[in-house]
Symmetry: C5
Subunit: 102 residues, 5 copies
């Protein structure tokens, strides 16, 4: 899987039946700090209710069809999780919510 | 999925039976602004009636076979949608039709 | 699919049973003008009778098994068509046969 | 398969049912000496009990689903082994445990 | 398929059951002259009895499972042939055995 940042949406009226009802999001490849890595992006179907600014986990290839939203559909990328935090060798490299200081 | 710009067509007479009747288009990889990114391109089967200059959504791999045009055929890339617009953080980065000003 | 130029052949005696009887060709990645792009190449099974110097269409991944030559075999790339011409925005970028002038 | 170094963990609460119960690890691409190669990383499901600092073997694509942990789940990368050593032309390029000298 | 040079072996004790009994080799990506191309390598299961220094043909993805050694196993790369020679436009670019001069 890859880590990506949701930065936009794609709207298409003329499309394959298999895409109907799917929300298609622009996901920019991101690093473990949640910041974009260069300009690479993909279009992924949303299977978790992700929104703009969310750091997400994407699955590609045939495995992208193994959700109830994408089953048997012509999609090759799907968002399978929203990242709460990434921990690298004991420290948080990314945290969705900051922890209030006392 | 990827975003691409349809820039041409490929014609082949000597081909696998599985390609018969498919329209094969040259799709150049594009950014969220609809402009080509470098020189990368692929040949994709058309499943939506796309034409030259259309910004399209392409699906690759085994999922490319999950349309009524490509089912069980030896194709690894298919056009599954024509992009109307792409919205990045609240502003249009690409819009197929310009909106008339009043 | 990708466009490639057939530049050679690979011969292997010690091989998986699943490769027996297949012609394996060196296919160099090519641009829409039919010229090689850098040094990238792959080894593809031939399913159309391609020869040296032919510009071909290759299919990769699981879809490469969907020809009568490659069905259920351990191959991940197959030549599915020989390119006659590529047309980019109304002009030929590549043409297999030149058209005689009058 | 690829060689990678386990450098972190990803935690996600909002996720596809198919990811439930899986441990997701950050795996940085590594060379035959066990050292990271650049900044490339992926998120892989753990199928062997790998931990931070382990050099591991990862499998990608549909084959990533062929373990008892990942069967039929929407994952495209899985850790399938922990590397004990890598031997290049007769010498160890990587060894998990150093051998005590006498 | 890709051409690669077998340069080493990987040994793993803690591993998925599906890897048991497989020989895992380090295969460095090679050119048509049999020389390594940069530092890229992969770990491939051996299905032909390849050894150090052999130039081999590797198959990736789901097709890597279509040998009697790798059937239904979590592997995404397999060695399917040992290269005897590669011929580019009528001349040998690589030959496993040199031909004795008279």
């Amino acid at each position: 899987m890859k880590i990506g940042l949701v930065t936009g949406t794609v709207v298409s009226t003329v499309k394959q039946d298999g895409l109907k009802g799917l929300k298609l999001l622009i996901v920019q490849e991101a690093g473990t700090d949640g910041k974009p890595l260069g300009k690479n992006f993909l279009v992924a179907a949303d299977a978790v209710g992700a929104g703009l600014g969310d750091l997400v986990i994407t699955t590609a290839g045939s495995s992208a069809r193994l959700t109830e939203f994408t089953n048997e559909r012509p999609v090759d990328a799907v968002i399978v999780g929203i990242v709460d935090f990434i921990e690298l060798e004991g420290t948080y490299s990314y945290r969705k919510y900051s922890i209030p200081e006392k």
